[in-house]
């Protein structure tokens, strides 16, 4: 805090002494407002929570200004809600940017490609205004190789690049990042689509050594040069997280593990031997390799697993907090000996190939489990399905600390869902996907209303909910009545009438993200949410009963809402029915990169 300085008063924005044009050497106590602002600046540096910062910025203009100067992490939940120019003008000292683009339903081919969410305008703006940018986290954005090149060139201290569910770039873009970002600590590619440009990007990392702490490339489908990777790992003494793609065989994995025994997070690649290992030949000692990696707490990969090799991971099981078997077709029999050692497990992703029996084994051992995701090996509606209410019930009884669950199944009962609502009061995320559309409780034949009703009623911390199965408006009445802190709701093939959506829009004051498909909600229901849409990040409704007229009404009533009507590529005639509505609040009005299949009302 500066107590004496030469200062020229300028016109202030707050109350206080009026402007003075003379420079005054000030030995007296500085003006109270300047003191306050300095104090504020020093204090606000410590404020990290976005919510707190947003609140602070609303106090008065002075606080607004100081908050903007002291914010270092910029989070933009919808890249179209604000323009790069506006964001970079307000916040001038940003070190880390998080941007989210496409809506989640685009992941399931519900949106034609090339809808938008381009990184280009953002990276151009940031290249000019944030020379000290260190971190970029993107989700569902379209990123080109040129964008990556600009990023690599513009930010000399760049440290962290995380791309989740992104596309549009290839190995040539990665090569540029690898070679130019000399301070790079984190390069995480998670479920992104990376095109194969025939570039050996791993070899572009500097030979002299890197600062890499995390290298995640399990989603990269292109083969890599293993020797280059081995050199890279040897040259990266800080490397803690390494997730390999499926082109890395077990033998290669072994060599890497020997080089990097201090890893904490390991993605094991294919977890099967390469072609040229003869049957019965004495392979490397995998068990010792795992035993040597005493710090491993997170294990994933197993992309082409030969289950016989699974026991190799036994030495690390006791310390594991996170285990991802969701690409491994493992049976209950294979799982049980492994999972029975995983007492500390908190996060478990798995395929339903383990069956209800496997889930029972999980429930018996993993008392610390916080997050469970059960994915379907066969994602279709017309089969029996290996997991059911039996597995869910077992998990609810064994894993009382459960906070987040994603469960795909073919059949379910209300009773099991109700049981979970009572046994797992800490649930924050409950996502149940009964894959057969409109499927009722398979024991009672009743709709699944009561089960989901119990979830919203009993789980007082619930903020994210995804519903499925046969659901009447009653289910939505429950959600509207009890889901007071629900922020994200996903609905598919559910409800009877407009009332369903009305209950939710009128009853859930914290609702931020609402995505609905194939449900009978029409214009009247849409209009009932007028009071709330400015408080939401977005609303998605596809294959519902909306008309152009209804959407027009919304657009006219709420000028700060961008109302996009998305047509399917093969159905570009402007008829009255709206295929897909995607609307979101925005300070900028209609975006200028609209593809031809989108009209903004």
């Amino acid at each position: 805090m500066i107590l004496a300085q030469t200062r020229t008063y300028t016109t202030g924005s707050g109350p206080g002494p009026g402007p003075s044009s003379s420079s005054v050497l000030e030995y007296l106590a500085p003006c109270p407002d300047q003191v306050l602002e300095n104090v504020l600046e020093n204090v606000l540096w410590f404020l990290t929570s976005r919510k707190d910062r947003n609140a602070a910025s609303l106090v008065c203009r002075s606080w607004y200004r100081v908050e903007a100067l002291t914010r270092s992490d910029l989070f933009i939940g919808n890249c179209y809600a604000v323009s790069p120019k506006r964001a970079t003008s307000r916040f001038t000292r940003i070190r880390s940017v998080t941007l989210k683009g496409r809506p989640r339903f685009a992941d399931f081919n519900l949106m034609p490609p090339n809808w938008g969410a381009h990184l280009a305008p953002w990276v151009s703006a940031m290249a000019l205004t944030y020379p000290w940018l260190e971190k970029v986290h993107l989700k569902r954005m379209s990123v080109t190789d040129d964008d990556l090149a600009l990023l690599a060139e513009s930010f000399s201290g760049f440290k962290e690049l995380v791309l989740v569910c992104c596309d549009g770039f290839g190995t040539s873009g990665l090569a540029i990042v690898a070679s130019r970002c000399r301070q790079l600590k984190v390069l995480d590619l998670i479920e992104s689509e990376v095109s194969d440009d025939d570039v050996d990007w791993i070899s572009y990392f500097p030979d002299t050594g890197t600062c890499l702490e995390s290298l995640i490339f399990d989603c990269v489908e292109c083969p890599i040069d293993f020797d280059a990777l081995e050199r890279l790992v040897a040259n990266s003494p800080s490397l803690k997280k390494l997730r390999l793609n499926r082109h890395v065989s077990m033998g290669q994995l072994h060599r890497l593990m020997v080089q990097a025994p201090r890893l904490t997070h390991l993605g094991t690649g294919s977890f099967s031997p390469s072609e040229d290992v003869a049957q019965g030949e004495q392979g490397p000692d995998y068990v010792s390799a795992f035993a040597a990696c005493k710090s491993i707490v997170c294990l994933s990969g197993f992309r082409e697993i030969i289950p016989d090799y699974l026991p190799a991971i036994n030495p690390v099981c006791a310390n594991l907090t996170s285990l991802n078997f969701s690409y491994a077709n493992v049976s209950a029999e294979h799982l049980k000996p492994i999972i029975s050692n995983c007492h500390k497990l908190q996060i478990f992703w798995v395929l339903d190939s383990i069956c209800d029996e496997g889930l029972q084994a999980v429930a018996a051992t993993c008392k610390e489990l916080r997050e469970l995701r059960v994915f379907p090996f066969e994602a279709r509606e017309d089969i029996e399905g290996p997991v059911s209410e039996v597995g869910l019930q077992a998990v609810s009884e064994g894993c009382r600390k459960l906070e987040s669950i994603l469960y795909f199944c073919q059949r379910m009962t209300n009773a099991a869902v109700v049981a979970m609502s009572k046994n797992c009061p800490d649930l924050v995320v409950f996502r149940l996907c009964i894959m057969g559309r409109h499927r009722p409780d398979h024991v009672t034949g009743e709709p699944m209303d009561e089960g989901f009703g119990a979830i919203v009623m009993n789980c007082k911390k619930l903020t994210r909910l995804a519903v499925s199965g046969l659901l009447t408006d009653r289910a939505f009445a429950y959600i509207g009545k009890y889901g007071k802190i629900v922020r994200t709701l996903s609905v598919a093939f559910a409800g009877d009438s407009d009332m369903g959506l009305k209950y939710v829009l009128e009853g859930c004051p914290r609702l931020q993200k609402l995505e609905i498909r194939d449900s009978p909600f029409g214009d009247a229901a849409l209009l009932s949410g007028l009071h709330h849409y400015y408080n939401m990040r977005f609303l998605w409704m596809s294959a519902c009963n909306l008309s152009n007229q209804g959407c027009q009404q919304i657009a006219q009533a709420l000028p700060r809402l961008v109302v996009e009507v998305i047509k399917h590529e093969d159905n570009l005639d402007m008829d009255e029915n709206v295929d897909t509505l995607y609307m979101y609040r925005s300070l900028e009005g209609p975006r200028d990169d609209v593809p031809r299949f989108v009209s903004i009302l």
Binding site: Y327, P386, M435, R437, D570
Partner: protein, 199 residues
Amino acid sequence: MERSMAYESDLNLKATELRLGLPGSDEPEKPSTTPSVRSNKRASPEISEESRSKGSSCVSSKVESGERDSAPPAKEQVVGWPPIRSYRKNCLRAKKNDQVDGAGMYVKVSVDGAPYLRKIDLQVYKSYPELLETLENMFKLTIGEYSEKEGYNGSDFAPTYEDKDGDWMLVGDVPWDMFISSCKRLRIMKGSEARGLSC
């Protein structure tokens, strides 16, 4: 509470029918006892539907009519359901394929009356029409069009396959993915035996 299905007035074909797409709500009344995938062997999908479909992932779905009570669009694939990302689907599909026969899925093809067998890689094909066309070219014969009721009526030849259970099935009855994962070998039957199948 059940949706009324337009098919129910038929000879209950709906109960045994399997669309190439994803059927849905008729499932609950159907007591499927077998835990395996092959509970729908006797179904009759729409091959012609598949040949019309526009390409792997972006088959556009008709707007599923909002009212639950009306029948779903006939035998359309439902885009994006269940909600699994295509990356995951592709990884697991590759895995399912690998389960059958390692790298490449070569199966023997015999034709009644031909002196020697051939082998084809099923993974190369994306649909029944493609496969049948190849067989027709390979053996210089006409198999004709599949229909759910009459098989390959009007043709001297009927393509059949041996599945994991060891049973001989008519090619085209089950969805392509299911066929791929269960087909062990192919046999193109000829003559009266073939015609017998189409009844």
